[in-house]
């Protein structure tokens, strides 16, 4: 059933089961996202898509909040822009993100988001944690220094490939992506080497071995294609 809501003063029509993010995207309204990826379930973790909804005293993530008839949504207020700036600066200061030597330079969602949000530098002190790189897999590599814990790889591995090789270990700032029970990726008996995690990664944390600075490009449409094919039996390229 169709519902009508207002996003940034614009009347938008959307389906009953749509999220605010979906409704906005269909109407051509841009909401920044990082942990959301078409084809994967949503977790509401990155908080970039937070929007103001009239009548709600707290900000709501657009990716997991269902639309309601007559909802009034603001996606780009001064307050939200300020919060998003802080969030992206926190991310850059958290681990070791050095674009100049990164495989994903120029093809990085985090980098694009920073540019889009007008970030010029981070106000926070860099934490410079000492993190490793797992190169034990013959085709792919996992660089924890560039990981932002969006868990897109975990969801791709679980929901689309069905292998559930990847998951999260530890909590808080010590949380890491692990393969199986923390073994080197190359020794994982469950990994099918399908590469869907690499497709899903927004930064340079997961990459094809052999790629050097700015060479890591990704084709993310495959994930959504697979999901639509499996669930709706429609092979839309």
């Amino acid at each position: 059933m169709a519902r009508t809501l207002t996003i940034n003063g614009q009347m938008v029509s959307a389906r009953d089961e749509d999220t605010i993010l979906r409704a906005a995207q269909d109407a051509g309204i841009h909401i920044p996202v990082l942990c959301h990826l078409d084809g994967l379930s949503d977790v509401g973790a990155c908080r970039f898509c937070l929007v103001e909804v009239a009548g709600s005293n707290r900000l709501l993530p657009a990716c997991t909040t269902r639309i309601q008839e007559g909802m009034v949504v603001q996606t780009d207020t001064e307050q939200l822009r300020n919060y998003r700036r802080h969030l992206i600066e926190l991310l850059f200061a958290e681990r070791n993100h050095v674009c100049a030597v990164c495989v994903a330079n120029g093809n990085c969602e985090m980098q694009s988001l920073a540019i889009q949000l007008g970030m010029t530098h981070s106000r926070y002190d860099y934490m410079f944690p000492s993190l490793g790189v797992d190169l034990s897999h013959e085709r792919f590599g996992l660089d924890h220094n560039r990981c932002i814990m969006c868990t897109r790889c975990v969801r791709a591995c679980d929901e689309i490939e069905g292998a559930h090789t990847l998951d999260v270990f530890g909590r808080g700032a010590k949380a890491r992506i692990v393969t199986d029970l923390g073994m080197p990726w190359g020794e994982s008996p469950t990994c099918t080497s399908c590469g869907k995690c690499v497709m899903a990664c927004p930064t340079g944390a997961l990459f094809k071995q052999g790629s050097t600075v700015a060479e890591m490009t990704r084709d993310r449409s495959k994930l959504n294609f697979l999901k639509t094919a499996r669930e709706e039996r429609k092979w839309i390229v």
Binding site: A45, C46, R58, T151, G172
Partner: protein
């Protein structure tokens, strides 16, 4: 089990008790337990036996009477005198057993160990949730029944409709004791109205449409032990509250989620569940009605975030204890996607007395918007620390200075911290403020689950904020960016201030970041993590500013 059988058990137990002249109650709560109360109990039992007083003196273990600072505690309760003049003894050792038993026989108090049972610590309290703690053996269901236990359950099953139970709860004005203070009646009504969810297909079809009741006993605030004392001292009351909740919302399965560190509470709850099942107060067709309800225990693995309801549900389901965005609220879609009622231990423990004594009685206690009593764990720089239960609306001054006896000699009161890592510090100016949900929120703190830490003038408020931020940083699950990276940065800035390396710019950034973390975090942990910083900045800003260094001049 029907009402007559329940009364028969109660009468038999009361008769057995009244054959004795005195009850010697040994506190077997965890604090006194670790002080050796089990040995004291054995020594007293042996002493009573060798004096040939088995029929006269009853030695029993009881739940926490509250004054943990003076433990191990033993009380002597004369059973045939009214008003009962209870004698309370402090710091008892097994070696004191002969003297203690002699004093009971002679009916003379043992002065060297005695503490005044009429001191404000006891007289200023009002016990509803803790009324049985210290007066009955938590490991015997008969004791609980003899004190009127399970009457409320039988009453709702035989005389009330689920809607009447919910109406009673709403009328009582009871609000969630886990911290946020959501009206309990409203929550129950929402779950009762929700359509039962579809359980996974691998369970038998007859239980496929389900609702659940969860008791949240994952008490994680540092220095808080209210729920532990209730679970240890009166476990049946929690079960009874859950069963009434199950009847009201239409659930047939309950889970108690307890942190594994509470080994004694878990043991007592397990015993209580077994006993209640054996006499038919849990299980199929309770009290001969069609109502079926059972309770299982799930252990938490020591993550603070699992006290958050959605993370707790994920943990029961067997996943990582990660919160998820709400809505949908657990009342609509909770455990395995089914409508789920989650209440705190203390909230559920308030339910049976509301049913037996009436909603109006409960509503007559407390303030206009906060009804009933609240249990606090009073700790910190205060003379008498321990577990207290006070009516809502009591002032902080009464709690700290009358019940707690004030700060130790020669020191000055500085602030009281409520709500643990999610709460704030309240300075001396607000000591006369009534303790209720709204007043505490107004001064930048929260009711929280009930930790109350008193601080004196030697306390460094920046260090207090840094301590709580350290806790939140360690306990953040790491799912959302503001809580994971934000708490780490806040902790970093606070450490810089303490090391004398921070400038005014850092302090400004700390304030901005507090605001960001508060408003953008996914769950309650992150949303409330900046509270200790925000409240200490509000009232003790000069302490921060004193530690700042001038900004380096640009070259």
């Amino acid at each position: 089990m029907n009402p007559d059988e329940l009364n028969r058990i109660a009468q038999a137990e009361q008769a057995a008790l009244s054959r004795h002249e005195h009850a010697i109650n040994v506190c077997v709560g965890i604090a006194c337990h670790s002080g050796g109360s089990e040995q004291i109990r054995k020594a007293l039992e042996a002493e009573v036996k060798s004096a040939g007083l088995q029929g006269k003196c009853l030695v029993r273990g009881v739940g926490c009477p509250g004054l943990c600072a003076e433990g191990p505690l033993v009380s002597v309760e004369p059973l045939h005198r009214s008003p009962p003049q209870e004698l309370l003894y402090r710091k008892v050792t097994p070696a004191d057993a002969p003297a203690l038993v002699r004093s009971v026989v002679r009916e003379e108090p043992l002065e060297q160990l005695r503490i005044d049972a009429n001191q404000p610590f006891f007289t200023r309290q009002l016990k509803i949730v803790l009324e049985n703690c210290g007066h009955m053996d938590p490991e015997r269901i008969e004791d609980y029944i003899a004190r009127g236990g399970y009457q409320a359950l039988i009453k709702v099953l035989t005389e009330m409709t689920p809607q009447e139970v919910i109406d009673a709860l709403s009328r009582s004005g009871l609000r969630g004791r886990g911290g946020a203070g959501f009206p309990t009646g409203l929550k129950w009504a929402t779950v009762a109205k929700a359509t039962p969810g579809r359980y996974p297909t691998y369970v038998p079809p007859d239980i496929q449409s389900q609702k659940f009741v969860i008791c949240n006993g994952d008490e994680g605030d540092p220095g808080a032990f209210m729920d532990r004392s209730v679970m240890e001292g009166d476990p049946h009351r929690v079960l009874e509250g859950m069963a009434i909740a199950g009847y009201a919302v239409g659930a047939r399965q309950g889970f108690i989620y307890v942190r594994a560190e509470y080994a004694l509470a878990v043991k007592r709850l397990r015993t209580a569940i077994r006993q209640a099942q054996r006499i038919g107060l849990l299980g199929k067709n309770i009290a001969g009605t069609s109502f079926t309800f059972d309770v299982d225990i799930r252990l938490g693995a020591g993550a603070f975030v699992c006290g958050e309801e959605t993370a707790l549900i994920a943990s029961i389901e067997g996943g990582r204890g990660l919160p998820r965005p709400r809505p949908p609220y657990p009342a609509e879609s909770g455990l395995w996607g089914c409508p789920t009622l989650i209440n705190n231990v203390e909230t559920l423990a308030n339910v049976p007395p509301i049913i037996t004594k009436g909603a109006d009685w409960f509503a007559s206690i407390g303030t206009e918007k906060s009804k009933g009593t609240k249990v606090f764990a009073l700790t910190g720089q205060v003379k008498r620390s321990g577990l207290i239960e006070v009516p809502m609306g009591i002032t902080l001054r009464e709690i700290v200075f009358e019940i707690g006896g004030g700060v130790p000699e020669g020191r000055q009161f500085k602030a009281v911290q409520t709500g643990g890592p999610s709460g704030g510090c309240i300075p001396a100016d607000y000591l006369d403020m009534p303790v209720d949900y709204e007043s505490l929120a107004k001064v930048g703190s929260i009711m929280g689950s009930g930790g109350l830490i008193v601080m004196d003038d030697t306390t460094d408020m920046v260090e207090v904020a840094r301590f709580f931020m350290d806790f939140c940083m360690e306990e953040s699950c790491g799912k959302c960016i503001p809580c994971r990276a934000g708490t780490a940065q806040m902790h970093h800035i606070l450490t810089k201030i303490q090391q004398g390396k921070a400038t005014a710019r850092d302090l400004r950034l700390l304030e901005e970041l507090s605001n960001v973390v508060k408003h953008t975090s996914l769950c309650g942990l992150g949303q409330s993590a900046p509270n200790p910083v925000i409240s200490t900045l509000r009232y003790f800003r000069h302490e921060y500013e004193r530690k700042l260094v001038p900004e380096l001049e640009r070259v």
